[in-house]
């Protein structure tokens, strides 16, 4: 059952990744070329998902959209992990006022919703893929910092850290040899779940017109464009919605799967 979850997540994520890879070399139609004669076609052998309000093949746009969904996810999660994990380890390892400062800072960022932050950044720098990635990245830092700190506190209480201290290991060496390897799985779970959050946030930003600008196809902007046809051509909204759901579900399942597979208590039981 636990393995099933992991593999299902892996399969869904694999689907999104292969869509993005395929779009780099091939799409059925030009994802940017407006064809006024083909507006709002239903599914057909020529256009399996139909065409949108500009007469562009939806399948092509979905494939290219996967690219932006992954790009935003990878960049924002990497950014958040690179900042959050070291901060969390520092807070857990040093403790005292350092920990207090780090935790209060994360509280402040937590209190500011990612969307508001993105709206703020978009207002200053204009809506773009970069502002979306930066905003989502910054908003995800606290989750990584807190996870890393909690994991670090657990590791610091272990006898092997006491033994390492008796061996004269401290500071960065202690973090690199003892703490990081033992919280890496935890960070991996957080990354996978953060990825799912990032995809949702990116779609929401695109929907609000604050993400990647037109004509670049992203799933969020596709949703936005589809809403004027919600009653005449409801399938327009279904496809990007489904794509987002597949990606989010995939990364969530993958995250849960990694956690279950690496949990030492569960691992020792099996």
């Amino acid at each position: 059952m636990r393995k099933l979850q992991f593999y299902l997540g892996l399969a869904l994520v694999g689907l999104v990744v292969s869509a993005a890879l395929v779009s780099l070399v091939w799409t059925p139609y030009d994802p940017l070329q407006v064809v006024p004669a083909d507006r709002l076609l239903g599914p057909s052998p020529a256009h399996p998902f139909g065409t949108d309000g500009f007469g562009i093949d939806i399948a092509s746009r979905l494939l290219v959209g996967a690219r932006y969904c992954l790009l935003v996810g990878i960049v924002s999660v990497t950014l958040a992990a690179l900042v959050g994990v070291p901060l969390g380890i520092l807070a857990g390892q040093v403790g005292g006022w350092v920990s207090e400062v780090v935790m209060r800072l994360t509280d402040i960022v937590y209190a500011l919703p990612a969307l508001l932050l993105a709206i703020l950044l978009a207002a200053i720098f204009g809506g773009s893929t970069l502002t979306a990635m930066a905003a989502i990245g910054v908003a995800t830092v606290p989750a990584f910092a807190r996870t890393a700190r909690a994991g670090t506190l657990q590791v610091m209480a272990a006898d092997y850290v006491l033994a390492a201290r008796a061996c004269g290991t401290r500071g960065v060496a202690l973090a690199a040899r003892h703490i990081w390897p033992n919280i890496a799985a935890l960070a991996g779970v957080q990354a996978s779940i953060g990825f799912a959050m990032a995809i949702l946030a990116e779609a929401a930003l695109g929907y609000l017109g604050l993400g990647t600008p037109r004509p670049t196809p992203t799933w969020g902007t596709m949703l936005r464009d589809s809403q004027e046809f919600l009653f005449t051509a409801p399938l327009q909204a279904l496809w990007p919605g489904l794509a987002i759901a597949v990606a989010v579900l995939g990364f969530n399942l993958l995250g849960d799967g990694i956690r279950d597979l690496t949990d030492p208590r569960l691992r020792e039981a099996s």
């Binding site: 272990a158 006898d159 092997y160 006491l162 033994a163 390492a164 201290r165 008796a166 061996c167 004269g168 290991t169 401290r170 060496a173 040899r177 003892h178 390897p181 033992n182 030492p264």
Partner: protein, 253 residues
């Protein structure tokens, strides 16, 4: 014999000044070089706290620990490098005292690297052999070993920087009965061949009987009795020591 350790009115309080608990409430003793001292007491008597203070892994609330003329209890970590190479601890449970994500070779070599002890490239293999393990064990991970073998790895790590003092905190109580005897024998052999000063903490008087010449009985953070092990076993003066003595399990021969 030359005095190695001097412990002066050592106190360690956990929690606040008002509602805290005194894990150690004023302990004084000395340890001579080459001596084998047992510290006995039940759970909560302050044994583990004492071990951590002796190994400079914790700071006392008051009082001090002087090792070979150096006050270790208030020294900054940077000043403790020489001390750490000379005093090494072995902990109770090797399942938690070995980092599960490090290879055994790296675990045993850690004090050499971190304390920058001059050593030959074959040093790790040598210490592994000294504790009865194959040099190839260094390539494997701790979970691939049994409890007794893991404790051998922990002992090898402690021996790697060629320390003068070994502090063993309940070294066999996490192991099963049949393995205990082997580890006690190993410790006895190592102490004899390397002329180590040994401090053994245990709630089990039989371990102290087998390894030590002198013992102290700790109760609620205070020393209630001290003397040669033989004398302590033959005629314990305090009621508490008598009850500990009565609790020695008879090992199957």
């Amino acid at each position: 014999m030359a005095e190695l350790y001097r412990v002066e009115s050592l106190c360690r309080r956990f929690g606040g000044a008002a509602a805290g608990v005194d894990a150690l409430a004023g302990v004084d003793f000395q340890i001579a070089a080459g001596e084998r001292l047992g510290i006995v007491g039940e759970s909560g008597s302050g044994k583990t706290t004492l071990v951590r203070l002796l190994a400079a892994l914790d700071r006392p609330t008051s009082g001090r620990v002087v090792f070979d003329g150096m006050d270790t209890s208030n020294a900054p970590e940077s000043a403790l490098r020489r001390f750490r190479a000379r005093v090494q601890p072995v902990f109770q449970d090797p399942r938690s005292s070995l980092n599960p994500r490090m290879r055994v070779g790296d675990i045993v070599g850690e004090p050499l690297r971190s304390l920058r002890v001059a050593h030959t490239s074959g040093r790790v293999g040598e210490v592994l052999a000294d504790v009865g393990l194959e040099p190839e064990a260094g390539k494997r991970y701790p979970h691939e070993f049994s409890g007794g073998q893991r404790q051998r790895i922990a002992i090898a790590r402690a021996l790697a920087p060629e320390p003068q003092v070994l502090i063993a905190d309940e070294p066999v109580s996490a192991l099963d009965v049949l393995v205990r005897g082997q580890i006690v024998q190993l410790l006895a052999d190592l102490v004899a061949t390397r002329r180590l000063t040994l401090i053994v903490v245990s709630h089990d008087l039989s371990v102290v009987r087998d390894l030590c010449e002198r013992a102290m009985v700790l109760r609620q953070g205070k020393i209630v009795e001290r003397g040669p092990v033989g004398q302590l076993l033959a005629g314990p003066r305090s009621e508490y020591a008598r009850s500990l003595l009565a609790a020695i399990p008879e090992l199957p021969e």
